[in-house]
Amino acid sequence: MSGKQNGPGAQGLRAAPEPEGDGLQRLRLPRALTVVRRLRCRSSIDGSQRRPLDHLGTPPGQSAAARRARGLLQPWDVALRGGRAYQRLRRAVLMVSVLTVVGTPFLAARFADRTWPAGLFVGATGAARLLDVELVDPLMSAGVWLARGARPGLLGAALPVLLLVVVLGRFFCGWLCPYLPLLAVSNAVRWALGKLGIPTLDLRLPGWLRFLVLGAVLGGTAALGIQLAALVYPPALLARSAYRLAFGLGLGGGAAVLAAVWLFDTTVSRAGFCRSLCPGGALFSLLGARSPVRVRREAGACTDCTVCDVVCNLGQRPMSDRLDAGCERCGRCVASCPTGALALSLEGRRR
């Protein structure tokens, strides 16, 4: 149990575990064992199959320094422990977003004379007007800005999401993106295919590829004079496909692109589009790179079980503190951690 924590391998690379973390750790470990077995992680609790490089990512003494910093920054130190409430909130917000994207078109088609809340709501996630307040996806706003010059109205429409992204990081992808249910289905299909013995590739495209895609989309938008994001960005494609369906126009080309993205995620690379190709994700990563909301690991309580690394769709590695701007703040690693070693925390300054 605690043999790994005090073993000779861990001792040399990491500061000695803090005494107060010990009681918590012992209490929770049996549950950790069951979770690890269920998820078939590669590492074992005794550390015999640990991947040695993972531990090099943890600087010695980091935990103590982080605790000191948290002690200094009391008002900011809001740790969301026990990520289940966080997950419930996230799923509720996501459900509202998905229902908006799929439901608004059908409501609008059903009540064509606009007897339903007329003027209350036009459009869906991506370009909505809610009670006369315009909300436009920052990626779309940036595209129009590049192709036609600065437009104060559009900047204002993108501002609410922009501010949220700057504070919360790439949260849009984990909290609002209507593609997420499709991604969940994709992951389920991957799992089912694996059960049936049908192999699926998990190509790890480099994460920076999405910045190239973003550059290509924005550059192409300006050069070609066509909003390319409207043709490749899954939330926009989903919204338009839903409208097409509701208005009896058939599924159209956007759904074909969407299907290609889904098939890529399902057969070639798990969440590969979100991780390394999505221009929106890239833009939110750039804007939210300095976000103070971060996944924080309590090294003393961590058993290196890799559960968090396994649940992450976007290839983040919370277990070895390797998280970058690609983290979508979905908090699934926090909720899945069997020892409660992970938490989402607000930090006044960067680590």
Partner: protein, 191 residues
């Protein structure tokens, strides 16, 4: 932060600012208030809001995967534009310049397309009888269509026509002589 990503973004933005495409010729009927061809495609993000609020469902989207897949067009053969200007009010990006639904403003600013008359099918022009339906439904009246001669045959003035397609819809089923085609000077401008 990823340096390569930032560089790529900067390079893309720079290339975009340097290489502007010349204005394209009108190829589609755009909703009322649409910016000139080229500018419209730059500004439209394909959000579908114009089609959502269109009371006659005349605003459609193309079905393919081409570059134009995200841009609305007017299917005036199937449904007319009633010039309610709800689409210009709904547009979030200004691709459809806002035009108030005031008759004078609509008559002077909306230029969806121009009418083309096939005189061989038109009832008065082909000597099959008096019809006058197109002139009767025209929202701008004699500025766009005049009735001439003993048969009261329609004579269109493209420069005064808003291109709403009401005449195209009113034209009797056996004739279907009027068609609104892209063209004419749009005055949406850079709002």
């Amino acid at each position: 932060m990823n340096r390569r990503g930032v560089l790529a973004l900067a390079a893309g933005a720079l290339s975009g600012l340097l290489g502007r495409r010349p204005r394209a010729a009108a190829s589609e009927l755009r909703p009322p208030g649409a910016l000139p061809p080229g500018d419209f495609e730059r500004a439209c993000i394909g959000c579908f809001r114009c089609a959502e609020v269109c009371p006659t469902r005349a605003i459609r989207f193309p079905g393919g995967v081409g570059l134009d897949a995200g841009h609305p067009f007017l299917a005036l053969r199937e449904a007319p534009c009633v010039l309610c200007m709800a689409c210009t009010e709904a547009c979030p990006t200004g691709a459809l310049a806002r035009i108030p639904a005031v008759p004078e403003r609509v008559a002077s600013e909306v230029r969806i397309g121009v009418p083309v008359l096939a005189r061989k099918s038109c009832l008065p022009w082909s000597g099959q009888g008096v019809c006058r339906l197109c002139a009767y439904v025209c929202p701008v009246g004699s500025r766009a269509v005049e009735l001439v001669g003993p048969q009261q045959a329609p004579l269109f003035h493209p420069e005064g026509c808003v291109g709403c397609g009401l005449c195209e819809e009113a034209c009797p089923e056996e004739a279907r002589a009027i068609r609104i085609v892209p063209g004419g000077a749009r005055t949406g401008g850079r709002a």
